[in-house]
Amino acid sequence: MSGPRPTAGTRLRHRAALAVVVLLVLLPLLPVLLWAVADTWRYPDLLPGGLTGRGLRLVTGSSVLGALGTSTLIATAVACLACAVGFPAGRALGMHSFRGRRVVQFLLLAPVLVPALAVTLGLQVFFIRLGLADTVTGVVLVQLMPTVPYAATLLGASYANLDADHERQARVLGAGPWRTVAAVTVPLLRPALVTTWLLTFLISWSEYILTLLIGGGRVTTLPLLLFSAIESSDRTAAAALGLLVVLPPVLLVLVVARLLGSRDDAFLGVARA
């Protein structure tokens, strides 16, 4: 199955290419890092005039740590729920052909195609009526809108590649329908599930508008703090918060890739390289 053994030359070239890519991704973060510790940094100075610990103090302060907790809680819940909803939806899309499948597929993608803002303005009324406005639960629910379509589509594609006979085989070997899913289907789809979970986590993590509208400013996540810092032109705070928004997902992807990832998974393959 594996290709020809790479020669030292090709390996070197792969390493070099990877280094360039990583550099291109990381380079824009360098000024942000400098801004986060810069006291004064005026044009046309190449480097900041002085350093300050204000950024660090800010991000270790209780309000930011609280927002970090809220963000983590919401993103985790959203990712888990999106996978839970996307798993059966993807099964229906990928495994069964039924009348109107294309319509369902389109409807599933609609929340991504239509600006979420437009829909949310209408939804907000219902959320208020249901008492879900200004609550973490409400924010989690509304964030399913931009995440479930991706979850269903990604898992649907994986289901389409799954050999349904594996499940039939498991049934014949004595596994009931639920045990078949738990003992065979989920392990077979594990790479796709991990990818889906990470992707939906990241979508939720960086979500701003929906959180603002449904959370009503009471549910404070990191992007909300970040935007308000940008609005108030506090560059040190904005840069420090920016780094705080960027770093956890990167660490998460790396850790998950190490723990769970497999080589055949493109998303995690990159993180592993």
């Binding site: 498991a170 070997l173 329908p177």
Partner: protein
């Protein structure tokens, strides 16, 4: 109608009698399985033989509970299985593909069924180890699935099916994706395992040789129906039906009438004794059973009663086929008759020869194919 079962003297305590009655499965109204009956005696090894698309895999899926039957029933030791879920049937099915679970090791794959049944871990481990030894895979227990060869994969699949001690083992063309040598080896293994465990086995295949070699009984399935069944010997010597005869290489069909216990071909040149009721009938004979002799010699002495043809038929065509020569002769009424003769003894095209049909190799069937006049079937 019941014949002695070769194989184990006493069937294993676990093996069951499986019966299928008037089974019908339709896809969008079109019957894929069209009213078949099957009876598998405890401990027997039956091949369900047929070309692809004949409904044999669908039948197996119904037996396993993976497919719903539209009509008919499946009985296990006399109890109707009805809509029993596949996991509640004491059967194991081995598919064409090995379908091993890639996230599990070889031992975990084999032990899957035991785990589902919540067999205590140590007991299961011992059974898995014993089973792996029987399929000659001991030492590979901790291997990952990706590291196995095609033959090893199918052996794991077989072990996984058998370790549950099913009362009936269903095999759906399990070796069709392996190469010829390996297939022969696997056939032997399956037969050995069957004889050890004595489990009632239904083996679906499209390969005549495979069916004959491995099974005690063959049921031929064509277009959703059982076209005929019997032991391999019966099927090769006394085919029960015309379609069975055709499928198993009875290339010569001679149409005629039965009257007074004697079959007589339309032009009267062929006759044979039989115990059929009067009426239209077809005599079938394998080309390798047809004897050719020197012209003029009275090979027709056996005319009345023993299946002979008078002298002087003309050789139309002959073709070298490696182990023998295929000779087509023209009967007096223009029908073709095909004979296989040893290399070196074949007559030349145009030569006149005598023909003799050994009576014990001829089968008279009370059937006539209305779509065909008699003569040589195309191979």
């Amino acid at each position: 109608m019941r014949e002695r079962l070769p194989g184990p003297e006493s069937p294993g305590p676990a093996s069951a009698r499986l019966e299928v009655r008037r089974l019908v499965v339709r896809y969008a109204g079109v019957p894929a399985v069209d009213g078949i009956d099957l009876a598998l005696e405890p401990g027997s090894f039956t091949a369900l033989l047929g070309p692809s698309g004949c409904g044999k895999s669908t039948t197996l899926a119904v037996l396993a509970g993976l497919q719903r039957a539209d009509e008919g029933e499946v009985l296990l030791d006399g109890t109707a299985l009805g809509d029993t879920a596949p996991e509640r049937r004491p059967l194991s099915l081995v598919f064409q593909k090995p379908l091993l679970f890639p996230h599990l090791t070889v031992a975990q794959n084999v032990g899957f069924g035991l785990r589902m049944r919540r067999v205590p871990r140590r007991e299961a481990a011992a059974e898995v180890a014993a089973m792996l030894e029987r399929v000659r895979l001991d030492g590979l227990a901790d291997r990952r699935i990706g590291e196995l060869s095609g033959g090893q994969e199918q052996r794991v699949s077989l072990a996984r099916a058998l370790v549950r001690r099913p009362r009936v083992l269903l095999l759906d063309e399990p070796f069709s994706q392996l190469d010829a040598d390996l297939r022969a080896e696997m056939r032997t293994l399956v037969r050995e395992l069957h004889d050890e465990a004595g489990v009632t086995t239904l083996f679906v295949t499209h390969d005549r040789e495979e069916a004959v070699e491995v099974s005690d009984r063959i049921a031929l399935m064509l277009d959703g129906r059982i076209a005929g069944s019997g032991t391999p010997q019966e099927i090769y010597t006394r085919p029960p039906t015309l379609r069975t005869a055709r499928f198993f290489g009875f290339e010569n069909e001679i149409r005629g009438q039965v009257a007074g216990g004697v079959f007589r071909s339309a032009d009267g040149t062929v006759s044979a004794r039989c115990d059929l009721a009067p009426g239209a009938a077809t005599l079938v004979v394998r080309p390798e059973a047809v004897r050719l002799g020197p012209a003029g010699e009275d090979t027709g002495t056996a005319r009345a009663g023993a299946g002979g043809i008078g002298p002087s038929v003309r050789v139309k065509d002959q073709r070298f086929a490696g182990t023998h020569v295929v000779v087509d002769v023209a009967l007096p009424d223009g029908q073709r008759l095909r004979a296989h003769v040893p290399v070196g003894s074949e007559p030349a095209v145009g030569e006149r020869v005598g023909v003799w049909l050994p009576p014990e190799r001829c089968t008279v069937l009370a059937e006539v194919d209305p779509t065909r006049t008699s003569g040589t079937g195309a191979p």
